[in-house]
Symmetry: C2
Subunit: 152 residues, 2 copies
């Protein structure tokens, strides 16, 4: 099998979308991450779910466990409302990591090794022009591999 | 809300379980990772899904994209059968990272900040003796937060 055989269509976001919408897209579509695309549908970055969540955690809380422990339960439940209308671009790192992509003809081993090495449960599949044609989730990859394991 | 309010019961594995079984447990239960427990039900490590997958990728392929590209499609589909009966303990790092855990009374902000900082979509919830009492997935956390967002 090749990447194109197990790729699925997923909703994407851009740097101009609000962070709250990005989190909602991920939750509604039950995705383990998000592909952020530019205005020509090329991946700008691929965010693992934990890093989409990170966009929603105010900066002052991100690296300070003692401060976070001091926040009472009521406020802690509502932390992500502090973001209001901030966008993905506002909250993402200035220098995003190179998007994690594979070509349509990549093997499942290539996809697996890439996910393991880059710690990302979502990989974007792109065509020769770098345009997004689909995505592969960790769950989809494992389910596809299991098909082969079951035969032997 | 506190960690105990959104924690779910999840199947666990031990270092003596075969890697193939660990991957299967994760897939069947649709978990974003696994908690590896010791013989007293205390978390030994918490593995994000990509690092469970990593256990199944033979070491020679893990850091060598050029080698991986050279493997033909048929063999690539079956890479994980090479593991045969190797166990989680055989394939895990010798010095596993400290398990990512929270107490039952942790706030959702504490859980979110921890997931974001540690890049793990799964967090173990432990009691005062360090015994596993449940787990929180990224999806469960986001869904719980969304309840509050929808009200305002």
């Amino acid at each position: 099998m090749q990447a194109r055989d197990i790729a699925i269509h997923i909703p994407t976001v851009t740097v101009n979308d609000p962070v709250a919408q990005a989190v909602r897209v991920m939750a509604v579509s039950r995705l383990p991450g998000l592909v952020v695309v530019d205005d020509r549908s090329r991946p700008w970055t691929v965010l693992p779910g934990t890093q989409v969540l990170r966009l929603a955690v105010p900066g002052s809380y991100q690296e300070d466990p003692a401060l976070v422990r001091a926040i009472d339960e009521d406020h802690a439940d509502r932390f992500w409302l502090e973001l209001a209308d901030r966008t993905v671009g506002d909250c993402a790192p200035r220098q995003p990591t190179k998007p994690v992509t594979v070509r349509s003809d990549a093997t499942l081993l290539e996809v697996a090794a890439l996910m393991a090495r880059q710690h990302t449960p979502l990989v974007a599949v792109v065509d020769d022009a770098g345009v997004l044609v689909g995505a592969i989730t960790l769950e989809r990859l494992i389910t596809s591999l299991a098909v082969f394991g079951a035969d032997e």
